[in-house]
Structures are given as C-alpha cells and as structure tokens.
Amino acid sequence: MSKPGRSPPKRQSRREYLQLQRVMAGAVMRPLGRGEKMQSRWSDGQPMKKFAAGFIKPNDRLTSFERLEIYNRQYWFRLLDCFYDDYPGLRAVLGDRRFGRLAEAYLTQHPSSSFSLRNLGQYLLKFLEARPQLVEPHSQVGLDMARLEWAQIEAFDNEAKPPLTTDSLLEVDPARTRLQLQPHLTLLKLSYPVDDFLVQIKRAQRLRDEASNAMEAHTAHARRRLKGRLKPARVFLAVHRHKDTVYYKRLDEGAFCVLSAFRKNATISEACQQLGAVKSDPADLGGKIKSWFQSWASLGWLCRLDGK
C-alpha cells in the first residue's frame, strides 16, 4: 500500500524499455578509457558517474558507475579475445600494441552484427583498405594476412555442397557448362607468402602453449625474425577444407585463372580461354588442364553443373 500523499512509481512503457536498452548498450559497447577502465565522461560530456546513476542502482560496495563498468569491461575483453584468436597472423605483422589499437578502432566502427562471434571480422578487409595507415608500413603484408585469416574462418565451417566426380565432368559440354566452386573455398592472389608466415606463427604459438609464459619473450623475438625474412613474392592460393581440416594449397597462375573464372560464372570453355593471358608452354597445356581438373575433383572443389 502506498503512503498517503505519495503517488505510485511510474510504470515503465515498452518504448521506455527499448530506450533503456539502447542507453545501456551504448555504454557497454563504448571503448574503454585509460587503464582499461570505463571512460569518465559520457558522449555528451556529462560525468559518466552521473550518467550511470541515472539508471543503475548502486549497492553497499559498488557505485552505479562501477556496476556498469563490469559490463563495459567484459564486453571489450570478450571481443578483443576473440579478435586476437582469429587474427594471430595480423597481430604478428603489426605487433601487439598496434594490433590492439586496430582492433579497438575496427570494433568501434563495426560492432558485431551477428549472433556468432565467428563473423566478427567480416568487414575487416574493407576497413583496412579504407585506412591503410593502420597497417603501414606493412600495408600489403597486413592486407594479405587479413585476407588469408578471413578465408580460413570461411573454410572452417562454410557449407560443403555435394562434389562432382571426375567421371561426371567427362560427360559435359564445356561450351555450355558452368561449374560452381565449394562455398568453403577462397581463392587468393597474394603479394607476400603470408601462408608460410602464418604456419610458422601458429607453430611458435603451439610451442608457447605447450611450454610456459617464459616463452613469451622468445616468441616475440621469433616473430620479428620471421617477419624480417618475409620477402615479396606472387602467391596464388586456395584456402579450403578437406576432411574437416583447413588447408592452404598453392596454385599455378593458370589454375588460379581458371578457378577464378568459375567464380565469375564462366563456362568451362570460357574459363580455359583465360589461360591465353598466362605465360605457359602451349605444348604442355592440355595435360596440365586435365591434371588440374582431376586434382580439383579429387579435393571436391567442383560442386555443380549448370546449363547442361
């Protein structure tokens, strides 16, 4: 029973409920300040303590600010952990401090828009292409590595359609048939052999995990040494999944051209015509194409026939 002369507390409306969630999400997702603490001022300049006290109750041990800060810190720790796990190669290229700054800038610009943290890096490449200063002076290595690491995420759990066999390919009209590549397969034209670099980084990471924190300094040194050895080299790469394991497969330039043409919906004949632009021995070409198709079919990369 309410006290005489005192009106009952105002009931929250659905609109106010949504507004409360917007306010809290804004605070939770706001970048942390110095020392990984919540920023001391809200976006309109008012003290964050006053802002938090407007909707969060304090208790006998924590202020409203401190209670809200628990969520703010957890949000960033969770997303940064995930980002660190997904991009060990890019982290090795940039170093921990620069990678941390990049991660915060990216996640502020592109908060997660998916139920799954797996998709956290889906806009990273475009983000980096628009802001090369974030990866300079290793811009090309950084972009190559970001491409490779996203391709790896796609290869891990993208769909695998029923693959075509070599025999079924023999029965088709090359002038009318369009092949589709597996959704888990990504083709990459790289300026640096970042695939080798990433393999070595992961090996060093495994060693560190098996040993102890004493390895930390050693692996940072090893990372710098590995990066120093990274020289420009044109690499044509397929990142794909085979028997539930993700692989990087180096390709001939010609094979890369044919597969890329399939991605652009070319017929088999049109795809093979792309080889005209690639330097190769014409006497050997027929045998090469045959072995490519056999290899692709055995890996299950080709998965649909259209226009038969």
Partner: protein
C-alpha cells in the same frame, strides 16, 4: 514418470556441457554420460567439423540444446533468420526441450554477446513472455528460460527477480532452467537471501537445473564457470530439488576446462542429492 507438464524428463539424470577440449576423448573413449548439453550457436553453422562432431555425438548420446543469443528479453522483435537456423538445428538434434536466458544482449542489430540484466518491470515481462510464446510456436519444442547472474540492478525495477521470473513464465506458460549458481552469485551481488528465491519460484515449472563454479572478486562475484561447485551452491541445489523432485541437472564448466574425467566427476556429485530426493519421494 514426469513430475508435470514442464518437467517431463525427471529421469534424464546428470549431464555435462559438450566442449571442444573434450571432443577427442568423448569420441574415442565413449564414456557413459546421461546427456550432453550443447551451446546451440556453436552448431548453427553451415558445415565443417562442428556439425560432423555433433552428428557423431548424436549417434551415441542424448543431446539438449542451450542457447545464448535468442535474447527473449530484448525489446525488439525476434530475429526470424536466427530462429530459422535454430529450427534446423532442433530438427537435427531432436532436443526434447530448448533453453535460453532471461536476458537481452542486442539492440538495433548490434550484438554485445553478453547476457545483460533486465529491468524487472511489467512492460519487460509482457514483451519477454510474448517472444517466448512466439519462439515456441515457431520452433515447435518446449522452452525453458534460465535466470542469469547479474552485476547491476535498475532503478526502474518494480519487483524482485524471482517475482519477475514467475511473471514471465506464467505469462509465457513455459518452463524454467533454474541456475542455482546464478542465484547464489546474484544474491551476493545484490544482497538478497538466495533461499527466498528458491522458495518462491514456481517449482512445478522447473525443467532443468544448472550448477557451476564462479570467481570471487573484492567487491562482487563473477559467474566464470571455471571452478568446482561450492558448498553453498550445493545447499541451494538440495533445497530446490526438494521442491521440484528429481530434475535433469547439468554442470557448466566453460573456462580453464580441466580433463573430461574431472568435469564429469564434479557433475556426478549431484547424484547424491538426486538419489536422496528420489528416495524421499518413494518413501512418501
């Protein structure tokens, strides 16, 4: 025998969460486990090893789905694309019931990937109950909602957490996944008696229990799922079981995960309490 419409799996026994570090052990050693709980979102993908492992597990074990991102408590409508993916998984696992949290975590298409606390208001209860009903109708599977651990309370709240939980489940006509560790954590963070919570939830709607460990900080407790269950949480579990009767129980261990045997051993400590309550029921 089912205890009631919401607790139809009284004989499910004690399960543990299916976690990546244990995959190889489970698939090679095939240990005897009453059931596994999976995090739905980890398997709502289109292919690859996660689904292959899941299919192998389904060949041998009973699996129950537990979600972290339907966000029944979000003020916005349910995400239909998310529900479609979830339904594909429900058909694959044939989960007897599906649980997710009484919380929110996304707004305007942006996800916090957290289980954020709700204001305990009638407006929130109505929206949440409506969304639970919609999800159940679409997914065609019984739903149980789980109380979360929380670190903040809102000025605008109009009732206690257990009153809010009761309001939601009565309006939605759904089950409860009662997490006794979360009750303990929140009771310490918000200064209430956890037994008041246990004694006031509608026991007939409890479909499943969660037990877990947590971490003490100087001024609050964090629900970290990285320790064994402490005695005060076992006491809450015992009290709750007396009210509900035998109920499917699951141990959560999600960080600093020890060996499979250690996790399973910890989970099986619940057996003593389940057997006691079963014996009491028979005697009665």
């Amino acid at each position: 025998m089912p205890a009631n419409a919401f607790n139809a799996y009284t004989d499910y026994g004690i399960g543990i969460g299916l976690r990546v570090p244990h995959y190889n052990h489970i698939l090679s050693e095939k240990p005897t486990v009453d059931w596994f709980e999976i995090i739905s979102e980890n398997f709502m993908c289109d292919g690859g090893r996660p689904l292959k492992v899941l299919d192998q597990i389904l060949e041998q074990y009973r699996v129950v789905q537990h979600g972290v991102s339907v966000y029944f408590g979000s003020a916005e409508p349910l995400n239909r694309e998310h529900l479609k993916r979830l339904k594909r998984l429900v058909k694959r696992t044939k989960t007897p019931w599906l649980s997710d949290h009484l919380c929110w975590g996304s707004v305007d298409g942006r996800y916090t990937h957290d289980l954020l606390p709700m204001p305990y208001t009638m407006a929130a209860a109505k929206v949440t109950a409506m969304k639970i009903r919609q999800a159940r109708d679409f997914l065609e599977v019984p739903i149980a909602v789980e109380n979360v651990s929380s670190y903040a309370e809102f000025h605008v709240s109009e009732m206690t957490e257990w009153e809010f939980l009761s309001e939601v489940v009565e309006r939605a006509d759904c089950g409860i996944l009662l997490d006794v560790n979360n009750i303990y954590v929140s009771s310490q963070n918000h200064n209430f008696n956890p037994f008041d919570y246990i004694d006031n939830v509608p026991a007939e709607r409890v479909a499943q229990f969660h037990i877990a460990g947590h971490t003490h900080y100087q001024k609050y407790i964090l629900d970290t799922h990285d320790h064994p269950v402490i005695d005060p949480v076992w006491k809450l579990y015992e009290r709750a079981l007396r009210r509900t009767g035998p109920t499917a129980t699951l141990l959560e261990w999600d960080a600093r995960i020890p060996s499979f045997e250690e996790v399973h051993h910890e989970a099986l400590k619940a057996r003593r309490f389940l057997e006691n309550v079963q014996a009491r029921k028979i005697a009665a």
